[in-house]
Symmetry: D2
Subunit: 383 residues, 4 copies
């Protein structure tokens, strides 16, 4: 694999490395790790990359790797650059025959995402979008339970994602993470709702299997001087008639990364919180609440999707990095199967891709449009 972006001190690049290292299925063999040549070089050396495969830009990397023998060259690229620099390397990689992993959001805007979709369809290559939270075993369990109908028809979805780290104008105080995320030229037309609201929206659709059809958004800039929303509250309607609420905030002072979802159907409800990810709370209309735990051995009570995405027995907590590693592991298993002419198990094939990316970009477009509208409801449109 070749990495684009993710040089020294880049937050998300380091996370990707922890994630793909874990299971020993993915090896980084080359990189274009920074647009700063010195940083690119230094970062490559720190990763023990051979000198001739430390590239200074992604064009060079993709070009040169494509000329290497098949058993030597990278199999895929991982793109961990800022949002605005996702599209170009992804496009080139696909055009040159490389599979692609991209950090979310997939692109800078919807048009780019749609173009990538076309390329994926034309080339038959794999594209994986690292919507980390869908990699947790108990999220898989929740999805499987809803799909299995145990809750009956879904009536209500309640997803919240409060963080507090942008409670001050940190982008003016030297916080690099804050700086690019609050800058429209780097982050896109949305702030909080794009950065974390998209995770919440993705999770709501991923778990329920439903699609958002219209929404009503209240986007706010709570910290004076900021250019993009740092808080958003959104009413949702789903295609089966279910109602939803999505809250995302980066000014919920004192909150860490408290993504949480609750889904209620006719017969019961599910509750999952990212900060205690190995637990899935199942509430029943007519029976006591149950606590399902990742890794536990309950006969057939846990879905194969949950057990496939868990490495340790119950009571040995897995976390964010394991969830992230699950995305890579599933992508790698699917890719290996494909390269060997096989079909991956359905559990491995379940990772986010270009369609999820398009839903995400369309979500951002729709929320921003709704935020500016005086009408209550704005239709969710992918094009």
């Amino acid at each position: 694999m070749g990495m684009i972006g993710g040089g020294k001190d880049a937050f998300i690049g380091a996370i990707h490395r922890l994630a793909f290292n874990m299971d020993g299925l993915v090896e980084i063999v080359c990189g274009a790790l920074s647009i700063n040549p010195a940083v690119a070089k230094e970062s490559g050396e720190a990763l023990f990359l051979p000198a001739d495969r430390i590239y200074l830009n992604y064009e060079e990397m993709i070009e040169k790797e494509s000329q290497l023998p098949a058993d030597v060259r990278m199999d895929f690229v991982t793109i961990v650059t800022p949002n605005f620099a996702h599209f170009a390397p992804a496009k080139l990689a696909l055009q040159k025959g490389f599979h692609v992993v991209i950090e979310k959001p997939i692109t800078f805007n919807l048009a780019e995402a749609l173009e990538l979709k076309q390329l994926v369809q034309q080339t038959g290559l794999l594209l994986c979008l690292t919507h980390t939270y869908s990699g947790y075993p108990m999220v898989k369990q929740a999805k499987a339970m809803v799909a299995g109908g145990v809750l009956g028809n879904i009536r209500k979805v309640w997803v919240e994602y409060p963080q507090g780290w942008l409670s001050k104008l940190s982008e003016r105080e030297g916080n690099a993470q804050a700086a690019w995320r609050t800058d429209p030229s780097k982050s896109g037309k949305a702030g909080c709702i794009g950065d974390i609201g998209t995770h919440a929206a993705h999770l709501s659709e991923y778990i329920t299997g439903l699609k958002i059809t219209q929404l009503c958004a209240d986007l706010n800039i709570m910290v004076q001087g900021r250019m993009l929303d740092d808080d958003g509250n959104v009413l949702l309607k789903f295609d089966n008639g279910a109602a939803g609420v999505l809250m995302a905030s980066q000014v919920a002072a004192g909150e860490e990364n408290a993504l949480k979802i609750r889904v209620y159907g006719e017969k019961g409800g599910l509750e999952w919180a990212q900060m205690e990810p190995n637990t899935l709370i199942v509430k029943w209309l007519d029976a006591p609440m149950q606590i399902l735990r990742a890794g536990s051995n309950y006969g057939d009570r846990l879905s194969s999707y949950a057990t496939h995405n868990c490495r340790t027995p119950g009571g040995h907590p897995e976390g964010y990095l394991e969830a992230f590693a699950n995305i890579y592991r599933n992508f790698a298993l699917t890719l290996s199967a494909k390269l060997e002419g096989n079909i991956a198990p359905k559990e491995a094939a379940d990772f986010p891709g270009v369609e999820d990316g398009i839903r995400g970009m369309a979500f951002i477009d729709t929320v921003v449009a709704s935020g500016q509208s005086e009408l209550k409801w704005t239709a969710f449109a992918e094009v």
Copy 2:
């Protein structure tokens, strides 16, 4: 005290009796406990009321009691009839010089509530509205902390009230509680949002000291055949610019009575959940979360409002009945002080009254209007 409504098998009447009995400050001396004479009689006897003070209707009770000597007659009435039958006895009681306690909602509509306000102002009598949840000590603590400015300016209010007990069409299956609450002729123009949404709205204003200025409501009937909303999601704006979300549902299958509020300001946030009421979680932007506990002895860290409303040392959980009893206790202390020409301590004087009732009725009006509007925002208007 004389009780109007609350005969045998009436849910809320029994709760009121548990609440006012507890502290030994209030004694029931007469009652018009049911419109069914047999039930009225039987219920009065079960409460050991003297035969001549078991009345068959509230008019008779108020009339006859008003003719008794001052040291014998009841001091106040408690009205625990269904919503549509709050106004008339309250009005008559005030006109005849009796103080009044009313179960919420104060009246059937806003106009009645405004008329009661006039009567209260004219007579100088006390009116207490049993918004139970504001009686919890840690709700008092939260209110005191916000008022004291420790969170800085409030930016976000997040209040949720999921219940599951109306997940089926129980009103057609002999559930008396369900029947009147889902019947517009008894309950009023709103269902869930009136029954429990008003508690959530009251709590949000009570704790923050802010006023809702506009809102955007999505009201739903999730159970086919029902006549009133059983689920509602509301975006809020407060008078200081804070954003809010209020969710109330009676079809959140598997939920009990999970009222919960979170308030975030510039410097931190508060979280309180009714089902674990002795705990107040305080989150700080730059310091570890703290867990404040009712009854605990932290020097001056707990507000006098919190300690006044707590009977036992830390670790001896108090609950819903104690919160309810606090409303009665504070009303009784204030009334005693008034009768003796004194002024009650500020902690005792803090119980909900006619203004809270008017806000509640106006909230229902505004939410219902917004639910029917195609515009995003509807102004909150008390008149």
Copy 3:
């Protein structure tokens, strides 16, 4: 009812009043509320007792009340004096034909407890011991589940009761509660282990239906200058071969009143914590954990013992005072039935009595003996 002890400012007397007031089944009609005549008088007036039934000592009260007509005189006495002053009034009351409620521990030593047992057997009168924690609905549920065999044979009992309020030498700093509890002449031969260890031991036997047969105690005085144990750790053996651990501490700095018990059998385990008393956690060997909640409506899943001891629907938390009130309510229902020649329902008849008191005194004796022994095991002996 007539109250002995419990004058103004006495902690536990006020708790008793909150508890017996709640359900309106018990009325205080007279009292010998303090050995200080002025306090006795003032306290009686504060409770609105008639002047001629405010007595200055218990002998006078029992004597005079016994001469009143049967429909006027008190039915029973409640004894809330310090430990050393339980026996004499209890004995006299029984001798004069009054039923008795006593705050735990039943007496100052085992011999007195055995004497009371004889009197109870001879007179056929009721004696109720207010082991509050056995009054919680989910403790009743736990007991019913163990008795019903759902856990299989019990293997392990793990009960802990940490408090922190004696972490300093508070008895020398004017804390009246600390002063008598740490004074052997008032409290008896044990400190912490008598004050709260007995609650833990009672709960372990109450829930499991087992009897402790031998134990191994490590009693400690952690705060220099104290005269009685403030910390104790005890290994237990039960009559079915189960092993147990009991920990009680009043120097667990920062703990409130964290009584908690876990019971494990062949098929699963139970966990109950006093500070979240409405929840019973049920763990299964081969199935997901369940959360049983007081007041919930699960068809027949909750025992009649649990539902009988609960006043409000699920999600309306009841607490310590309601548990206390349950003891009084059950005693009062049993007494009423007895007075009317009926037999109380089995759920009402389930309140602690003289046998529980004897077990408690024997537990203290055995623990203290074991604490002084060099041998590992000391047999638990009631005589």
Copy 4:
């Protein structure tokens, strides 16, 4: 690195690989992965080891590797064989100049452990014992807080480790993990108390910095037909006079891996639970409880030991594998520094070693002796 044991289907070998892969600091270059040659070969191939470095036994591996050039040969061995087969390869590796990582318990008995200590002292090589739980960041935080004196003198240590997976006679039902752990010839003289009791004991000494000086053990075999203890309860005395209780059970039906420790001092207490490892609860005698969270940014409130052992920001849960990886990471950082003639940072140098192993073996000896003794206290002796 070369791995000894840990072939396909070996539980703990796979865990070690997940752990040392994660940070990219350790690479497996050779292995003697099974005593079964076919399994050794197959397992080596699955790890992409070169054919000539897949060895069939550890003697061959250590011998041949020692003859390779310094920049090619393995730097250290990782021993993940069953308990009885730890000592011989460790001894040989040290004798041949290789550093050693060993899964706990260090050896089969105390004598072997003492011999390893001598070898470590003679050779100056590193020996790392993978006491995983000491690798958690909030365990480091707890240790740092106790060492910093914020709790004052420690009075009480309360450590519990309930599991339920041996509630049945699984060793007779084809469970390989159960089979060797309950077999004295493979596991040693202790069962549960050796397998998990040693973790609890290690954690109690690691966090408090105290040493156990005497103990009183009640060891039980709860499942009929088992040969080693499956449940143990132990009273502890520490060298500063603190009292302790240690409970370990593998028949606590329904429990997963619920290691938990509480430490109380004069001024407050700490509570940490392995199944929610990113949280450290800090209780204060005179102030509200605080919740410290791994990865959080509280200025200098978290110890450098905690932050060093954390990879992600607050709210991104890390778990068991990260704790395990921390042991490897710290060992690798210390080894690298040593190889380069530097001294590792103190935070990296903090990993369990031969002394911890000796304490563990002595703990097993002392507990087993105490379990057989009729006296209450048995002195803890390392030799």
